[in-house]
Structures are given as structure tokens and as C-alpha cells.
Assembly symmetry: C2
Homo-oligomer: 193 residues x 2
């Protein structure tokens, strides 16, 4: 019993020590295990069970990759990342899974006007809260924007109430994006003149 506990501690210590070692070697974060509570199933299992969806290898890996990719990856970028951990993955499976996750509300499907969709994990530990996007119309750079939530919430509530009444719509979601020219592009264009 006591030995068990000590063994556990030693293994846990070794795990973190090795992770730190790898981090020093590769100079980046290394995730060795799928993200899960230390003594329980990953957080997304209930969502799958709930809709009668099966929990499969490809889905686990796609969710893991999504939770580790910063920014707003495209389907293709996700596919390439998944391929490293799970080489037999097919592109169609990535599209299907992203579609499923979007329907479950676990990811947001984003459109920055590039002619392809981008994705962002919406639920789970470590995800950003509600936010909007600020997009540079020159270089397509995207900045997440999450300020002014008080006024925003008030404003949106008012508008959504009004819309519900006037058009008999049951509002489920909204999209707000700002477009502009980022500092870098402005500077570059200034120099060109």
C-alpha cells in the first residue's frame, strides 16, 4: 500500500522530469499523454456518449491536437498535425470530425474570408472565453478580442431581444468581426509612398 503510493510518486516525478528534459532539448512544449484528468476519462467523453457518438482513436487525437494548437488552424493544418501522432488518418475523417464537433458546440468554425474554414476549440480546459476577431485586410493576421464585454453583453441582449420580438427568431448565436489594417501593414504602406 505504502509502496504503491511511493511508486506512483516516483513515476509521476519521472514523467515530469522527462517532459522538462524534452522541453529543454526541443525548446517547445511537449505533450506526452492525451489531456485527461489524472484519474478519469477526457472531458469530452460525456458529449460523445450523450449524442450516441462513438469514442474512437481518430476523434481522440483530433481533439488532443485541437487543444494543443494555438490560433485558428484550418482543416488541412489540423490534418497535418494529426498525421504526426496518427499517420493513417484520412483527410475526410478530419472534415467529418470537425463538422461533428461544430454541431456539438465543442469547436467554433470560423470564416475570415480566405475561402477556407478555420477552427477553434470552444469547450474544455484552457480554452479562451467568448471573444471576437479583429482581422487585418492586408495580411490576414487575426487578433482575438475580448474586451468591453459588459457594454457588449448589454448591447447584444437588447438587440437579440428586439430581434426575437420583431422577427420571431429564436436567436442562438451571433458573429462580430472587425476589419482593419494592422500596425505592421500600415507602416509598410507608409514607407512605400
Amino acid at each position: 500500500m505504502v509502496f504503491d503510493y511511493q511508486l506512483h510518486l516516483i513515476l509521476l516525478f519521472s514523467y515530469f522530469a522527462f517532459k522538462i528534459y524534452l522541453r529543454i532539448i526541443f525548446k517547445k512544449e511537449v505533450k506526452m499523454m492525451p489531456r485527461r484528468g489524472p484519474f478519469g476519462p477526457p472531458w469530452w467523453h460525456p458529449w460523445f456518449k450523450n449524442c450516441g457518438c462513438r469514442i474512437t482513436g481518430p476523434r481522440e487525437v483530433i481533439l488532443q491536437v485541437l487543444s494543443e494548437m494555438p490560433g485558428h488552424p484550418s482543416a488541412d493544418e489540423i490534418y497535418l498535425s494529426v498525421k504526426k501522432l496518427y499517420p493513417q488518418i484520412g483527410l475526410a475523417t478530419v472534415y467529418r470530425t470537425l463538422d461533428l464537433l461544430a454541431n456539438l458546440g465543442l469547436v467554433h468554425k470560423l470564416d475570415f474570408g480566405e475561402g477556407r474554414a478555420r477552427y477553434e476549440l470552444a469547450k474544455g480546459p484552457g480554452t479562451k472565453g467568448h471573444h471576437h476577431h479583429l482581422i487585418c485586410i492586408r495580411c490576414q493576421k487575426v487578433v482575438d478580442y475580448a474586451d468591453f464585454t459588459d457594454e457588449e453583453r448589454e448591447f447584444l441582449e437588447k438587440v437579440e431581444k428586439s430581434l426575437s420580438e420583431k422577427y420571431n427568431f429564436q436567436i442562438t448565436d451571433h458573429l462580430i468581426q472587425f476589419y482593419g489594417i494592422c500596425e505592421e501593414c500600415r507602416r509598410r504602406e507608409g514607407e512605400e509612398k
Copy 2:
């Protein structure tokens, strides 16, 4: 001189009389002439001249069609409408012209998440003012929404100012869309249960 003036009046009267006649026969609005001031060039000519663009037949027809199509037509729908007035038009020209018009700010390019763009005339007589869109996530129906502009303007000014300062973006535009389920689809889904 005086005769000239009277002739003008008679012709003008005949034009409207005939238009009303056609309207009764076909039960819809009939546009017989390109939309232009009665004694001047169409309103969009200055925009073209200004950027060194040539004023061509296809462009005139596309603008005319845009000013007469209600709602939010897709490139393909515009192409088919233009084809009736100008059968030799090519699809590529429609795309090129819409792209040009969007860059000039004469049309808005819209995205309702259907995998193809839709367009809306932004300038010129008879166009709707600034408004947003309310989209049914079931049947894709789109309602134009233009209320609450006071609060909205105040809110947006505040946000855009904050964004300019914080991220050094020069804000040029914004996009606000609301998603929901329209009355019809809600009723239909209620019945299915």
C-alpha cells in the same frame, strides 16, 4: 424651344404611362431604361473614372441588374440575370466585376456560410442604408435588420476606438450577423415532435 420642351414632357409622360401599363400586365416592377439621372450619366460613372477603370457594356449591365435584384443574389444568380440582357456575358467577367465593385465599395460581398458569396449593392439610389443580417440556421433565410442604430453606433464607436488604441489597428469595417431559427422552422420542428 418651347416645342422641344413639350415634346420632352410628352415623351416622359408616355414612358411612365407605358411603364404603368406593363406593370399592370406583368404585375411587377419593370425597368426599361438603365437607371440614370434623366439628363446625365449613371451615378456610378465617377467611381469608375476615378480609379482609371473603363466603362464597358458588361459593367453597365451588371450594375443595372444589381440595382434591380432584390435580396442577396449569388454570383451565379447575377450571371443568369445578366445573360438575359446581355447574352454573350461570361461568368468570369461577372466574378471580376463583382470583385472590382467590392473593392470600390459599391457592393458588399456577403457570406452566410453556404460555401458561396452573395452580393448586395451598397451605393446608389434606392439602396438600403447600413444594416446587418439575421440568418436562419435551418432554412438559410436572411432578414435585413436595421434597428437600434443609435445604441449600435455608440457601442461600435467605443469598441473601434478601443481596438485602434490597444492593437494599433486602423478599423475600416465591421461585420455583425445574428443566427437563429425563424418562426416557420420553429413551428415545423414543433410539429415533428
